[in-house]
Amino acid sequence: MAQPTLATQDPGRWIHDLPISLGEYREMLLANLIMIGEIPAPAFDEKARIEFVKQRFTECGLQKVSSGSAGNGLAVLPGRSEGRSILITAHTDTPFPDTVAHTLTVSSDRVTGPGVADNSLGLAALTTLPTIIEGLGLEFTHDLVFMADTRSLGKGNLEGLRSFLTRADIPILAGLSIEGVQLGRLDYISLATLGGEIECIAKTWNGIDGQDTIAALNQIITRLRNIPMPGEPLTRLILGSISGGTSYKTPANSATLRFQLRGESDAVVDGIAEEILTICEEMASNLDIDVDFDVIARTRAGGLSPGHPLVQNALSVQQSLGIGTIAPAHSSAASVFLEEGLPSLTVGVSLGENRGGVREYVEIEPTLKGLAQVIGILRAIDGGCCGED
């Protein structure tokens, strides 16, 4: 009598034992992580990384390997029947320019390097999944659409994902976004966020007597910090970065602030954005300089309820694997799915630290549970927890 395959065993036992079966794919995941992570991929310059992922999709025997207008890397694993598809995504871009050395180091317990957690590991998991699915003999009712989405970070404003969802002629059942870290996150809520850039520009240039745009920006920052941020609904203003000037001995000809407004209410964020615009206009008039205020990224509030079957099934998968669920966090990707009326989750593959720095690292050992979790959630979606066609 034939031994039951993993795919035919009791679901609870099956998911519990899955990480052991995934052990033979550990090196493949790490190899993909190394090769992906060493290709620089700042937002809007991700073509080389996308080409590698598409090549991997082709090698895995996936169908319809292609790029959309936003340059995403797409491929399809056909399901048993016609109908809606499950979209699995991982964003391709990292915050690091290609002038940073993208060399990863591997030790016995971790992989270290710029962008390895955000999001080279997520993309490596996406790239390795088709081989794992084939190797485990898993079959899905629905088509699985694998997408390495582009232009996610900063000014990219999730353009790759948004472009696909608004233009795709494939009916989507649900989305699952994969991030490198942290294992245990289960993001099903989107916050209202507004990424903004304020640039002060001198109207004239008069050497050491010129207009001091850094001082002007400082006054604007002071005004921004005086805007009352409501505690209910919770709203925050994050001052992310400032830059300006070229020398220590002449007034800066321009100065730029980047910030993010985030909160639980679209209306509140919109209202504060209006206030910021007014402050910029007043300061431009008072100081006789040019002040530009640009919205560079925007997401809307919303998401699934904690009781949604997708959330409950995902929680069950995490519990079966012994993954401690991190308190509900927020995912900007969920906002894009929400705009299209689609349920989605974002999960992390492993644990790591120093995100955003060149010493960013991910741990190796938890990745097998991370991959098992992704497969378990895909099976739950395929099994009908998001409704049927």
Partner: protein, 327 residues
């Protein structure tokens, strides 16, 4: 020289020519070839895992191009062997191989003993300290040997930017090549000057060549290989492959001095053995460098033994292991 131009046209490759690894494997199997990868190590725990993971996953599991991956270690005191083994490499202590032949310390010793320990018809050597390791470092080197039976020895060349904490800088590498080796080759073996990076630590070689050449145990091993293979089989036995970029650590001028000393040692011995020099004094193994210390100049003396291992085919244990009959 017309010969060099012809050779550059026919025997200089780019790894991108060999992107079809499945095709490469088909030809390898049709020709009944076995391939071994040797990574010589000494305290490489920070880089060895990455090389083993990448080569095993890509060139053993995904594409079965390599038949074995072996670490030949000089006696690391860090966790090099433990880490390499945990990711699936075969690990060997150089001193444990051919114990009756004794043990010497040096990269060349590891490369020589690999010929006995590994079973491949082609052995590809890759250094353990490459920061941007990639499968091309193997398939780009073995492909000319698989496709072109008349080629016996394939050298790597590449851009060699330097890496530090702040990023990648333009190359300062290749100084010993341009200041020492290429001028020497131009004077004495002009055709060998066509090898773009004669000192690169990555090369693939057929067993029947490796077993017939001696191995200096120190810095002279690459240079002596080129002269010996050239003398026996000619320039057409060589190929070279552009591997695009190799990110490496910066070496101090003092270290380059030691390297140059070892190379010069091996080179002059080969001139002498070919009758290309007149009377030469005994070549001392002593290198003298100088430093300024607390107001005084002082000598720093290094003893750099340039002992050579004989051709492996002359070793009885090797002849037994590979069934080679005495003439």
């Amino acid at each position: 020289m017309a010969k060099i131009d012809e050779w550059l046209n026919t025997n200089t490759f780019h790894y991108g020519q060999f992107w079809d690894i499945k095709g490469l494997i088909d030809t390898k199997e049709r020709r009944n070839l076995k391939l071994s990868l040797c990574i010589p190590t000494l305290n490489e725990e920070t880089t060895i895992a990455k090389e083993v993971v990448l080569f095993k996953s890509e060139l053993v599991d995904r594409y079965p191009l390599l038949d074995e991956i072996a670490i030949i270690d000089s006696g690391s005191t860090d966790r090099t062997l433990e880490v390499a083994k945990s990711f699936g490499a075969d690990v060997y202590l150089s001193a444990d191989i051919l114990p009756h032949q004794g043990s010497r310390r040096g990269k060349g010793e590891n490369l020589w003993k690999a010929i006995y320990q590994l079973s491949g018809d082609i052995i590809v050597y890759v250094d353990a300290d490459i920061k941007n390791i990639h499968p091309r470092f193997v398939y780009g080197l073995v492909a000319p040997l698989i496709y072109r039976p008349e080629i016996h020895y394939v050298k790597a060349f590449y851009d060699r930017p330097l890496a530090d904490e702040t990023g990648i800088r333009p190359s300062g590498g290749g100084r010993v090549t341009e200041i020492l080796v290429r001028p020497l080759f131009s004077l004495f073996f002009p055709e060998l000057a066509a090898l773009i990076q004669p000192l690169s630590g990555e090369y693939a070689v057929r067993r029947q060549v490796l077993e017939r050449i001696p191995f200096p145990i120190g810095y002279g091993v690459e240079t002596s290989h080129l002269i010996d293979v050239y003398s026996e089989w000619g320039l057409d036995a060589f190929g070279q492959t552009d591997l695009d970029r190799r990110v490496h650590r910066h070496q101090s001028t003092r270290d380059l001095g030691k390297m140059s000393f070892g190379i010069l040692h091996a080179f002059l011995e080969r001139l002498r053995s070919r009758g290309l020099t007149g009377e030469m004094p005994h070549l001392t193994p002593i290198l003298r460098q100088f430093q300024f210390n607390e107001g005084n100049y002082e000598q720093v003396v290094f003893e750099l033994p340039e002992e050579e291992r004989p051709p492996m085919i002359d070793i009885p244990e090797y002849r037994d292991r590979f069934g080679i009959q005495d003439n």
